[in-house]
């Protein structure tokens, strides 16, 4: 994929390095040259103002599969994402937004956002409220979550069907004695199993209650 990242702060730099390692055609730009110093050994690093048309042409934004705007300014991120989507028809545009109150406004304007503050708050609350569940991965704007749960004593010797028919989650993998596999219908849980489940965020509270009651 061809991806351009606007903003070389902690998030931008981390995204650049991760996507570069995954062999994506990734470029990064920042309007502060000192922010780019840690990446000076890479070729696809640009020092420039963000909203200059000649830069967007040089970066061939119109050929991009995705752009990610993670500068320090919420407004700048939203405008970069909106311009890339409406004027350059980039299929995937993502704006990092620090101010949670602005998320709905920007999404209403057609900008897909990641609210770093909101996400951090949700994660912290989850970690405080129930430490038995460990979130491994989130999809979308935290809408779907993949969780890791050690099997509870009450569940041992039960089949996974008993949970899936009544509860709003799906067991996607089981880790057992250093081996991880996809469970089939009728798979029986054993002591010390680790379960990997996928849930919708809106059902997380219900899962926590379910586990506590179990």
């Amino acid at each position: 994929m061809k991806i351009v990242i606007f903003g070389c702060g902690r998030s931008g730099k981390g995204l650049f390095l991760t996507l570069f390692k995954q062999n994506h055609d990734v470029s990064i730009i920042d309007d502060d040259e000192s922010n780019l110093l840690p990446l000076q050994s890479y070729q696809q690093v640009f020092f420039n103002s963000y909203l200059v048309e000649s830069l967007w042409d040089t970066l061939r934004i119109h050929e991009c599969d995705a752009i990610i705007a993670c500068t320090k300014s919420d407004e700048m991120n939203a405008i970069i994402a909106r311009a890339a989507k409406t004027m350059y028809h980039v299929p995937k545009t993502i704006a990092f937004i620090q101010h949670p109150d602005k998320v709905h406004l920007y999404e209403h304007l057609g900008v897909q956002t990641i609210s770093t503050t909101d996400w951090g708050i949700k994660r912290a609350i989850h970690m405080l409220s129930y430490n038995h569940l460990q979130t491994l991965y989130t999809l979308g704007d935290n809408e779907l979550q993949i969780l890791r749960i050690p099997v509870l004593n009450d569940w041992v010797h039960q089949t996974i069907d008993a949970f899936e028919h009544n509860e709003p989650f799906t067991i996607i993998a089981i880790e057992r004695k250093n081996h991880t596999f996809i469970p089939l219908q009728g798979t029986i849980l054993e002591e010390q199993d680790i379960l990997y489940i996928i849930i919708e965020d809106c059902n997380r509270q219900r899962i926590e209650t379910f586990i506590k009651e179990s």
Binding site: I79, R82, L109
Partner: protein, 135 residues
């Protein structure tokens, strides 16, 4: 006509003074000190133009023309998008601070007309110089 001016700098206040005898002028700015001296002449509000609740206090739905005149281009573009897409304002005029950003000030981004100060000033200067150069 109801006119809202967002950004009470020199340009915003000059436009307000030029238009207030024939139109209802509303001015919104972040800083109370900028709008307070004009509260008897115009309808003044304190708030952020990118915040819908601050815009709502101006009864923005009733505006026929909005001037977006802050000193940050990305803010002007964001406010223009909100005015056009959320409130369907018939005419949105936005200030272009950096001429390199002029390409973004288009109807697609919510701007009906961009005021490119540097370009206007340059044209006026060149016209004046041409006049002076004429014998």
């Amino acid at each position: 006509m109801n006119i809202l001016i967002i950004g009470a700098g020199h340009l915003g206040l000059e436009i307000a003074h030029q238009l207030h005898e024939r139109h209802e002028i509303h001015i919104l700015d972040l800083l109370p000190s900028k709008v307070a001296p004009y509260s008897t002449l115009f309808h003044t509000y304190i708030g952020n133009g990118t915040n819908p609740s601050d815009l709502n206090q101006t009864k923005i739905q009733t505006m026929e023309l909005v001037f977006v005149l802050t000193s940050h281009d990305e803010t002007n573009l964001m406010i223009s998008s909100i005015c056009k897409l959320d409130y369907n304002i018939p005419m949105v005029v936005a200030r272009i601070n950096d001429p390199q950003h002029a390409w973004l000030f288009t109807p697609v981004m919510g701007v009906d007309y961009g005021i490119n100060q540097a370009l206007i000033l340059t044209h006026e200067l060149l016209k004046e110089l041409a006049y002076l150069a004429t014998p």
